[in-house]
Symmetry: C2
Subunit: 235 residues, 2 copies
């Protein structure tokens, strides 16, 4: 019998056992949603990096570089951090180095110990569920959070995923988020308008990004971490 | 305008600013519920201590000592950790040294920096709300959690408290737990039967303790940390 647990912040990850597990890193606003969108629209691979300077070093190797400062595309960068930029196969076949703060930290923590690392988003929720049902691994959802704190959008993803998997578990965070998702999942946009990170993004007029990141099952992709960066299993 | 935030684990407390705040430590199953019950039933003061050995040292000074091993009253101790033992003024006028693991850690972390430390429980929820409304301090709810992890009973208390206070805030944990409490607060017993810590207590046949810890507003007491241990402001 497989099981699922939720770690609501990277700062609490050392309380969890990762060996032999599939860890799903989720950073709904916007890193994991953008990664899934890009790799579902023909991007070849993505390397998540921590800051703009590290990102720039990939430019020389012919990679696209994606990064923002204060909600706007950073100077000298090809892309900002919006998932919408990758729609319609806009950058198909290319490799992308992408800056994320919370997301990169979560991914690098997970890769050290886990059997497998996936990237989760509402946009490929069902495809990820279908893949996990075929695997023998237990699952840990690692919420990227906001500077170490609990955030609602990442935690609600864990609830949605667990409801769809239907596995038994003994995890209060998962149980609480299942109940909350059952309550608010029908109007994620409305509920998360009040969430702290959504409010920060609204300040930068990123409403279209927020709405898109909360759409369910737009892509039939399973995004995993390989030696060459993030890839789409279903490509 | 006063505000409230929730720290869902002592392991995340360094992400929060405590100066000039009232920190409410909550460990519903069972430490904070037992403390509130004891101090609402005439106990003079309580010193929370970390382990049985430290607790025993208070015996020589004429204190009652309360401690458990494996869900049963520890050898040589006057009391276990059940709130029910303190009802009907059973130990009125006495001083108690009480072992708690998660609770003691949370209290000692909070006392270092906060302006004031209170002990919260569902049993004295409204009395605590009334007191906080008269104070000028912002509030931080510090959930004792379970070995550093999120737990539902402590976090739901934060949601209940925040709903009653009705203050503005920018805290996702508080927002999520408000919504969850609105959904399940009418049947806390039913919902929390599935929670991990309640299941652990059920293994020890502590169902009566669990039910009691989830009753609302049994006592009109405000429990705070003084130089001489925990006291009831309304005594």
């Amino acid at each position: 019998m497989k099981t699922i647990e939720t770690c609501i912040s990277p700062d609490l990850l050392d309380l969890h056992e990762l060996a032999n597990k599939t860890v799903i890193v989720v950073d709904i606003f916007r890193a994991s949603s953008t990664m899934v969108t890009a790799l579902s629209n023909g991007v070849n691979s993505i390397v998540p990096v921590k800051d703009l300077d590290q990102c720039k070093s990939y430019k020389k190797s012919g990679w696209l570089i994606a990064g923002e400062r204060n909600g706007k595309q950073a100077d000298g960068f090809d892309l900002g951090n919006s998932p919408l930029a990758y729609l319609d196969q806009a950058f198909a076949g290319q490799n992308v180095a992408m800056t994320t703060t919370n997301g990169t930290r979560a991914i690098s923590l997970a890769r050290e110990q886990a059997s497998e690392v996936l990237i989760g988003s509402f946009l490929n929720l069902q495809a990820t569920v279908d893949y996990l049902q075929t695997s023998t691994n237990d699952v840990l959802v690692l919420c990227a959070g906001w500077k170490g704190k609990f955030n609602l959008e990442d935690s609600l993803y864990a609830g949605a995923l667990s409801l769809l998997l239907g596995w038994d578990h003994d995890c209060d965070a998962t149980l609480g988020m299942e109940a909350l998702y059952q309550q608010v999942g029908g109007d994620l946009q409305g509920f998360l308008q009040k969430a702290s990170h959504a409010k920060r993004l609204q300040n930068h007029d990123l409403d279209k990004d927020i709405d898109f990141c909360l759409e369910l099952n737009q892509f039939n992709s399973v995004v995993y971490l390989s030696e060459e960066g993030l890839k789409n299993k279903n490509n």
